[in-house]
């Protein structure tokens, strides 16, 4: 197999492993579907171009999410929008079969939107750590390298974010039996 052939195979493997995580992380960070798609495409193409220069194969994850984070910052700078004032999510279509399903689906959607709304109102740093953990599935160590912060700070931010979500939504999510 030629070197470029190997590169394409390696790229495809990493791309398939990371695509959903990256897409959801960027989407929740900027809440703009069109911009997310452009950004994800850019990140993957940059990764493809620079794959050969990344010596440590285990740092592919780090490289991809660090680049995505830089793209997000560039996006904010270009748009000159404060992170907390960011747009509204596109509405999702509800696929239902009967009235009972419809009710459950709406309740689910309500909870999902509540959580996403709560995340949007949180401090940017807290939200970012939470998204990198929950959507990108990175470890404490990986998050600390992507964000260039201490591992203990990652833990404490995650703890605070989760506690805040539980305090705000706890009674509701525990009562709702979905």
């Amino acid at each position: 197999m030629t070197r470029s052939g190997k590169d394409i195979v390696e790229f495809t493997l990493i791309y398939n492993r990371v695509k959903v995580k990256l897409y959801n992380y960027v989407l929740r960070m900027i809440n703009d579907r069109m911009a997310t798609e452009d950004m994800v495409q850019n990140v993957f193409l940059k990764f493809f171009e620079n794959m050969r220069s990344i010596r440590n194969k285990s740092s592919f994850n780090f490289w991809i999410f660090k680049t995505a984070r830089n793209e997000i910052y560039t996006y904010y700078r270009r748009k000159k929008i404060h992170v907390d004032q960011f747009g509204v999510m596109d509405s999702d279509e509800v696929d239902i079969t009967d009235e009972f399903d419809l009710l459950i689906e709406y309740e689910k959607m309500e909870l999902n939107e509540l959580i996403l709304h709560e995340l949007d109102t949180m401090a940017y740093e807290q939200r970012e750590v939470f998204l990198l953990k929950e959507y990108a599935g990175l470890s404490y160590k990986e998050i600390s390298s992507v964000m260039s912060i201490e591992e203990n700070l990652v833990k404490s931010r995650l703890f605070k974010t989760r506690k805040k979500l539980i305090n705000r939504l706890g009674p509701k999510i525990l009562i709702e039996n979905i």
């Binding site: 996403l116 959507y135 703890f159």
Partner: protein, 155 residues
């Protein structure tokens, strides 16, 4: 164990960072502590709701990315070789030089090996000659005076 410590363990558990050995301790503590149990339930619910909000990767985006990557790859080849004759020529010359270098290197290695064999053979022959010399019987040389020598005076 204090509730705060249990909550810390719960957080690590949901983050996938709790050591496997500590999981039984966590669940034992959960059965004893109501407050931490409520926290566990709430955290679990949030985790599952977050899981439900994860969206699938758009197919059009996938097609776009793969198409762009493929075209970038062919563009890389085109930029480097197609329409750039000197680059192609130098690349070919490098490959040829590399092959010639490998050929010459292997030849010199063969020559070195055959030279070493020849030297070894010469040394063996030399030793054999020395042995043959040492095996010859001892020769005895005797001098004999059969004709008398007459010395006359001139006077």
């Amino acid at each position: 164990m204090k509730t705060e410590e249990i909550i810390k363990m719960i957080d690590e558990y949901f983050d996938g960072e709790l050591e496997k050995g500590k999981e039984p301790i966590l669940f034992t503590q959960l059965s004893l502590n109501d407050e931490s149990r409520e926290y566990f339930k709430a955290a679990n619910k949030i985790k599952s709701i977050i899981g439900e909000t994860i969206e699938e990767f758009p197919e059009e985006l996938e097609a776009r990315i793969l198409y762009s990557a493929a075209s970038k790859e062919s563009r890389w080849f085109n930029l480097n070789f197609s329409g750039n004759f000197p680059a192609l020529l130098s690349y070919a010359a490098t490959v040829i030089l590399l092959i010639v270098t490998f050929f010459l290197y292997s030849e010199s290695i063969n020559y070195k090996n055959s030279l070493e064999v020849k030297i070894q053979q010469v040394n063996d022959k030399n030793q054999m000659i020395e042995l043959l010399f040492n095996c010859l019987p001892q020769a005895e040389v005797k001098g004999s005076l059969e004709n008398p020598v007459i010395i006359k005076s001139k006077s």
